[in-house]
């Protein structure tokens, strides 16, 4: 039944090899994206440039400022002579935080009054201000605890909460982003290249010559996507390898399972591209349709923004995207090391997407010109 598949696959491989630019882009995309996302997306904001107005200028106040600096979240870039200078530095953007220690700070400590220390944070970007806010209150609590227990004459703390961040103990964003990047890159490149596949043959006039031959539409479709399955696997390997090498992203679980599930995801993505290809009339439309599809994938799948924080409608749209399920699988296998037993609902969903999309694409494509 599949006797016409071989020439089709071979033809696609030859054409892919001759189109050097596209091939180079498909290989370069994983590398460039990995470095961009891995380095640029740092949700763990550290070393915020900070100015200090220490109006007391005593050993106690210097000690307090040092405590802020020791968290690693604040980097003192300047000491300024007034409150207005702090505001000015933040407004002009030379600093994103300011610490103001009032002149009565040491005296208040001695008197047993509440000493007021102010931390001003530029909260324009909620993400980067959050860690500054958390670190600032942390410094206050630790100080309070020390002062209180000293006053009470106790050396042992009454309570300690131990938090253990599992699976990404360093809380590094690269560990979170890189596994997801495998899914995003596969979606981005594979949907686009296959969306162009059929419509390109139509535009160049080669489809007409092809559909008078005995090749079946299933053979034609499978032949079209086969070379890109290989491309997808190469892209994934590149991201995982470089992710490990450059960002030290763990590969905890079964690689065999990972490749098997990725294969399903690749087929689903390619089938979706083919479906687009049967719906549009020109390559330009195919590109637009692909981007229309790719953007919600990046925003709503949980790649960068947590799905739990999204409104219901956005969560529901996310459920209709294969990438949402694939991301859970990727992170599950790579970071948590879980097996197929824990991931079967997601794997089943992916397989269902693959079968559904491929069936739709083949049905949409008729071996006629009208």
């Amino acid at each position: 039944m599949m006797r016409h598949l071989r020439p089709m696959v071979r033809k696609e491989f030859i054409q892919m090899r001759r189109d050097r630019l596209t091939l180079a882009i498909m290989v370069a995309i994983p590398v460039v994206q990995l470095l961009l996302f891995g380095y640029a997306i740092q949700t763990d904001v550290r070393h915020i440039p900070t100015v200090v107005f220490d109006d007391a200028g005593t050993p106690e106040s210097r000690d307090l400022v040092a405590a802020f600096e020791n968290t690693g979240n604040f980097t003192i870039v300047a000491r300024v002579p007034s409150r207005a200078a702090v505001d000015d530095a933040i407004a002009r953007g030379t600093a994103q935080a300011g610490i103001i220690v009032p002149h009565d700070y040491p005296q208040a400590l001695v008197d047993g009054r509440t000493a007021l220390v102010q931390v001003i944070v530029d909260a324009e970007d909620p993400l980067s201000s959050q860690s500054a806010l958390a670190a600032a209150s942390g410094v206050g609590e630790v100080r309070n605890l020390g002062l209180l227990s000293a006053a009470a004459g106790r050396r042992i703390l009454p309570l300690e909460v131990r938090v253990r961040p599992r699976y990404n103990p360093g809380l590094r964003s690269a560990v979170f982003i890189v596994p997801g990047l495998v899914g995003v890159i596969l979606t981005l490149t594979l949907v686009l290249v296959t969306a162009m596949a059929i419509v390109r043959e139509r535009e160049r006039g080669t489809l007409e010559q092809l559909i008078v031959t005995p090749i079946s539409r299933t053979e034609l479709m499978i032949g079209k996507i086969t070379p890109y399955v290989a491309v997808g696997l190469v892209q994934m390997t590149t991201v995982l390898f470089l992710g490990r090498l450059v960002f030290d992203v763990p590969l905890t679980g079964s690689l065999l399972l990972l490749y098997a599930v990725t294969l399903i995801f690749i087929v689903a993505s390619l089938a979706f591209g083919l479906l687009i290809s049967t719906l549009v009339k020109t390559q330009a439309q195919a590109i637009q349709a692909s981007f229309f599809f790719v953007l919600p994938n990046i925003l709503l799948s949980g790649f960068m923004f947590p799905r739990a924080a999204m409104p219901l409608a956005a969560r529901l749209i996310g459920l209709a995207l294969p990438l949402t399920y694939f991301l859970k699988i990727l992170r599950g296998i790579l970071l948590k090391g879980v097996g197929a037993a824990a991931l079967w609902p997601e794997i089943t969903a992916l397989a269902a997407f693959g079968v559904l999309l491929m069936t739709l694409a083949v049905r949409r494509f008729h071996k006629t010109l009208d």
Binding site: I14, Q209, P214
Partner: protein, 250 residues
């Protein structure tokens, strides 16, 4: 044309009709083409030649009527006819980023040829059309005349019973056209039925029989001389054609 059809005929159509929305592209087309004929479809642009060929190849479905090609009902069973026909579309349809040899290999295999059989057929075609010196050139780099020869070669590999050529010599220089038509004569001499559309009069004269189309209708049928007489009113075939063209464009 309503008598009993010759069961051995290459093409038999009865009341073939095709509309595109409100446009009637082909209507009441009843035609019989014997095996081994070189049959020319002649007519101005938009007269329905290409639509007719596409219906006979199973590329578009007729709105009404029946068509049998090489003994197979193309309306009922368009997939089964594909092994038995060769087709060259009006627009060059081979892969320009493949070499001549790669195109020949691809089409040979897609038509089910393998191994030694494929090598023999391919060798025949290369020799017949003198493609040997071009085999490893990218198809997109060839001149119009050579492209058409390669396309003809790809359409012949599986030795089709009926060969459809839709304006095969459009944009080809006169010398290449002449050698192309010499090839068509050879192909027909080997028993393949050739159905060709054209609007070059010298080419029409080379056909065994002609069907003249105008506005979707077959308006004359017979030898080139017969057709000239039927529509020309005493003039030449070219006079008849130009008169038709002017009438259709009005």
């Amino acid at each position: 044309m309503t008598g009993p059809a010759d069961p051995g005929a290459a093409v038999i159509t009865r009341g073939l009709r095709r509309t595109f929305g409100s446009l009637v592209a082909v209507e009441h087309l009843t035609l019989e083409i014997a095996a081994g004929e070189v049959f020319g479809l002649l007519g101005p642009n938009g007269s329905g030649k290409t639509t007719t060929i596409r219906m006979l190849c199973g590329l578009i479905a007729p709105t009404a009527g029946t068509a049998t090609v090489a003994g197979i009902d193309v309306v009922q069973d368009p997939d089964r006819v594909r092994d038995r026909i060769g087709y060259m579309s009006q627009r060059f349809g081979l892969y320009e980023d493949l070499t001549v040899a790669e195109n020949l290999d691809f089409y040979g295999e897609v038509y089910g040829l393998r191994g030694a059989a494929q090598a023999v057929r391919s060798g025949d075609v290369v020799q017949f059309l003198s493609l040997g010196s071009r085999l490893h050139q990218l198809t997109g780099e060839l001149s119009g005349g050579w492209k058409q020869r390669v396309a003809l070669g790809c359409a012949l590999l599986h030795r089709p019973a009926v060969l459809f050529l839709d304006e095969p010599t459009a944009g080809v220089d006169p010398a290449a056209r002449r050698s192309f038509w010499a090839a068509i004569a050879d192909i027909a001499a080997r028993g393949t039925t050739v159905i060709v559309t054209t609007h070059y009069m010298d080419e029409a004269e080379r056909c065994g029989r002609l069907g003249m189309m105008s506005g979707g209708h077959l308006i004359a049928l017979g030898s080139p001389a017969d057709v000239a007489r039927q529509v020309g009113g005493g003039g030449t075939l070219e006079d008849a054609f130009i008169r038709l063209q002017e009438r259709d464009e009005r």
